[in-house]
């Protein structure tokens, strides 16, 4: 069953949270980030080309113009492939683990899977980010050496950066599944 809601991120951009419930033990959250706008793309291209034209009038070398076009193209490709994240997905499977996928604007996907045995808890943390105090959702990993310690904190939805209302939605569903997982793992 699918569910779509609209939230906003910490800068005020619009985010869409899609929630898919495959079964009581398997949930998927897909958070789509604001897309790259035509306005920003045009602005960057115009700035680069104006700067190149300015240099050209100074140096009278036409290589600068071709270099500017080349740089713009490469920069755009690099940005779409390595920087701009289109949507982030969180898949929780009871008794298997938690998987985070980031899909870039060029289609590249980068996935990380954490097994349930390593997950201690999923919490909402506060952090100071630039001049703001923001909330973020993170997974706490167990320390193999110390039973009550935490070895690593893995933050989720780092590019989308949703606000607290969206995080609470995701947090509630995660906790349901984790609680169910803990209950069944302790029983023989």
């Amino acid at each position: 069953m699918e569910d779509e809601q609209s939230f906003s991120d910490i800068c005020g951009g619009r985010l869409a949270l899609q929630r898919r419930c495959y079964s009581p033990s398997c949930l998927e959250f897909c958070l789509s980030c604001p897309r790259i706008t035509l306005r920003s793309l045009t602005a960057v291209t115009c700035t680069v080309w104006l700067a190149a034209y300015g240099l050209f009038t100074l140096c009278e070398n036409s290589m600068i113009l071709s270099a500017a076009i080349f740089i713009t193209l490469l920069g755009l490709l690099g940005y779409l492939h390595f920087v701009k994240i289109d949507h982030e997905t969180l898949l929780i499977i009871d008794s298997l683990g938690i998987q985070m996928t980031s899909s870039y604007a060029s289609g590249k996907e980068s996935t990380t899977f954490i097994e349930m045995g390593e997950v201690k808890d999923v919490v909402i943390n506060e952090a100071i980010y630039m001049q703001k105090v923001i909330y973020y959702l993170c997974i706490l990993l167990k320390d193999p050496v110390e039973p009550h310690g935490i070895s690593q904190v893995v933050p989720l939805f780092q590019s989308a950066k949703p606000r607290l209302d969206c995080l609470i939605e995701v947090y509630r569903s995660c906790q349901d599944i984790l609680a169910h997982q803990k209950a069944t793992s302790t029983s023989p």
């Binding site: 079964s23 398997c26 499977i93 008794s95 298997l96 996935t111 899977f113 097994e115 045995g117 193999p144």
Partner: protein, 581 residues
């Protein structure tokens, strides 16, 4: 409670039969390895499983039944399948079912209570996870999970559940040896059941590898014995060998070749990768060296180089002479102490004159030497680059000498100044206590000390300027040599085989797994597809990087500046076994 069943994708279209695999109780998961088809005799199936269990140390058992049917289930088949549960008792007993031509699967796992109890035996929910058997068999997880006991049984301690799946599939090779063309008593379906694949070239290479390795190992041991003989340990030769980076590089390559062609088999996959990386690195090196050689010979560059070498050396010497004339005058408007200036300048000019005479003496032999050196490029590009670095060091030997003279002079001056400064303030250095103590000097001591101090202070700018100029020149030469060494290190340490493997067969180097949820209908079990998440390139380089000679700078920037200020000699890199100066 949710049970997990790992099912190979190759068996999804197999005929009905029994599921054979391993049950991991700690993760409540069943790893299905193969399907045994009807007809079969239970005794023979049990014998086969016992054989496999002994050969592979994996607890392989019958896990349940697999039913691939057309439309509705026939009643008799249903009862027959349940009856099998009584013969091969296993808790829990899986019953997987798939309708032919559609995507609807059903599975249930029952805990068989026994024929006497008619109450419903507990049923659990099952989650189906499909995996590609061939890829999981061939892949290696990074970091390698240390699975403790390799004994028969299901010991998996706290190793992650997925590492156990990989381990199970990798160890069950004995089960995958029989294919459907065998006339064995039991018919199995797995990834190799269409026929075991092999390549003729690979088999031939494996046969040929034995004697070739033996031959090459003998040759290499002869070479190492020759190089380790006593003649080379005598003083002048051993000193020269330790200073030349070419010898270091040759020794490194010899070690690598000995390791590659040693007749001992690699103990674990990491060693095998290291051997493969070394071999590819050596081959690439030799290929690049041969390309360089052919390029040099095609344009007769060696002759041109030999002709150009003497004029270049002359030109460098002339530039140095101009520099010294400039220092002897009024460099940058500074006023030097004329007497000291003339002494130092004349001394260095004579040194240059000696050097030029030496170069002119060598000029008839240069072309032949260069030709032989060019031949050494067929040993590898790294050897050629090391020789280039050594030639640069030899040609700029006079700059090195000037640097040493200037540094020593400057160092003496600084020490003298600091000691006389202490005298000027009425203190002295206490060697016993390693600290500065006050001391009462006689009048004549104070007088002479202050006089000497003044002299040294006024001579300081001259010495400092010479020191500065020659240190900068020396640093320039050191930078050029450093860049060449960096390139040599790069060629030596880059794991090309691993990078190629990551590019062409990404499933072989796995950082983890990723899951995809397949089409789901309510009422049907959850189906997931498990794929291998390949290792990122940066981690491949980091994990499989080859060890290099280890000649990298040992100073931090702070200590380097301190040494420069006090005039201590800097040796940018140390070869192995060098003593501190």
């Amino acid at each position: 409670m949710v049970l997990k069943a790992f099912f190979p994708t190759c068996c999804a279209s197999a005929d009905s039969g029994l599921l054979v695999g391993r049950w991991v109780p700690e993760q409540s998961s069943a790893v299905v390895l193969a399907v045994v088809h009807f007809p079969f005799i239970p005794i023979q199936v049990k014998e086969l499983l016992a054989q496999v269990q002994q050969a592979s140390q994996v607890g392989v058992t019958v896990l349940g039944t697999w039913c691939h049917r057309r439309q509705e289930p026939e009643e008799s088949l249903g009862h027959f399948l349940e009856g099998l549960g009584a013969i091969f008792s296993h808790k829990p007993w899986f019953q997987l079912c798939r309708e032919r031509g559609s995507k609807s699967w059903s599975c249930k796992a029952t805990h068989w209570q026994g024929p006497t109890s008619h109450a419903a035996s507990g049923e659990d929910q099952v989650m189906l996870i499909f995996y590609d058997q061939r890829k999981v068999l061939l892949s290696q997880l990074h970091p390698p999970a240390v699975l403790p006991d390799r004994q028969a049984g299901d010991t998996t301690a706290s190793a992650g559940g997925l590492a156990a799946v990989f381990d199970t599939v990798a160890r069950s090779e004995a089960l995958f040896q029989s294919d459907r063309f065998d006339e064995g008593p039991v018919r199995l379906s797995h990834w190799q059941s269409e026929g075991v694949e092999a390549s003729i070239l690979v088999e031939l290479a494996k046969w040929a590898a034995g004697p070739v390795c033996l031959l090459l190992a003998c040759l290499l041991s002869l070479v190492s014995a020759a190089s380790a003989c006593r003649v080379f340990k005598l003083w002048p030769l051993s000193f020269i060998w330790s200073k030349l980076s070419t010898c270091e590089q040759l020794r490194h390559r010899l070690e690598q070749l000995t390791l590659i062609f040693s007749t001992r088999k690699a103990k674990n996959p990491a060693q095998l990768m290291r051997k493969a990386n070394m071999l590819v690195s050596v081959l690439l090196d030799v290929a690049l060296g041969l390309m360089l050689l052919s390029w040099l010979h095609r344009k007769d560059l060696i002759g041109q180089l030999a002709d150009a070498l003497i004029p270049v050396a002359d030109h460098v010497a002339e530039e140095l002479q101009h520099l010294l004339q400039w220092l002897m005058g009024a460099p940058a408007g500074l006023k030097m102490n004329r007497a000291l200036d003339q002494v130092l300048g004349r001394f260095f000019l004579y040194h240059i004159h000696l050097w030029i005479s030496y170069i002119h003496l060598m000029s008839p032999f240069i072309e032949r030497i260069l030709w032989h050196v060019g031949l050494s490029a067929c040993l590898g590009l790294t050897v050629a680059l090391s020789i280039l670095s050594d030639i640069i060091a030899l040609l700029t030997f006079h700059i090195y000498c000037f640097y040493v003279y200037g540094a020593r002079l400057y160092c003496l001056k600084i020490h003298g100044l600091s000691s006389l400064w202490r005298l000027f303030r009425g203190k002295k250095w206490n060697v016993l206590r390693q600290r500065v103590d006050s001391c009462s000097y006689d009048l004549d001591q104070l007088f002479i000390g202050t006089l000497l101090f003044t002299i040294l202070v006024f001579l300081l700018p001259t010495t400092a300027l010479y020191y500065l100029v020659f240190t900068l020149l020396r640093l320039l030469v050191v930078t050029v040599q450093g860049l060449i060494h960096l390139l040599v290190d790069l060629i030596n340490s880059l794991p090309l085989y691993s990078l190629g493997l990551r590019l062409c067969r990404p499933y072989r180097l796995a950082a983890g797994v990723k899951f995809r949820v397949l089409e789901h209908e309510t009422g049907r079990p959850l189906r997931l597809l498990m794929q291998i998440n390949p290792l990122p390139y940066s981690r491949v380089v980091h994990t499989y990087r080859l060890p290099t000679c280890g000649c990298h700078p040992k100073h931090s920037w702070g200590s380097l500046c301190r040494k420069l200020f006090f005039g201590e000699l800097i040796y940018p890199w140390r070869q192995r076994g060098d003593k501190q100066d």
